[in-house]
Symmetry: C2
Subunit: 76 residues, 2 copies
Amino acid sequence: STVKSDNEGGKYIDLSNKRRATVREFKGVTFLDIREFYTKDGEHLPGKKGISLSLEQWQILKQHVDTIDSLFAKKK
Amino acid sequence: STVKSDNEGGKYIDLSNKRRATVREFKGVTFLDIREFYTKDGEHLPGKKGISLSLEQWQILKQHVDTIDSLFAKKK
């Protein structure tokens, strides 16, 4: 599996060597956090660049996968 | 269509009433910007919360739609 675990109970996939998509629970609510990380003293720490999507927001994004793909294709 | 246009040539879908997923070209490269907006003097302006994904990062996220769904399902 490409799913990894962080130290806070989150499960994530790597989007690049310093970006992660993490499913994480916070105050009883589950979010998808898409975020850049930086390394300090060998530790990977969350940076400022990022956003935590609610399940509902993730579902809307997911519903528009084909739309987003076609927008990328038009721009190229 | 649910695709809207912003004033900078970006095309976006609403993820909530103040969050957008925008496909935008910047310096000749196309990104997916997932971002929170705020309103000032009737204008919608991009906030700090957000991240711009490259096409490659978007493709990786897209490949893991089912994985992310199952991680959400496990957390509930």
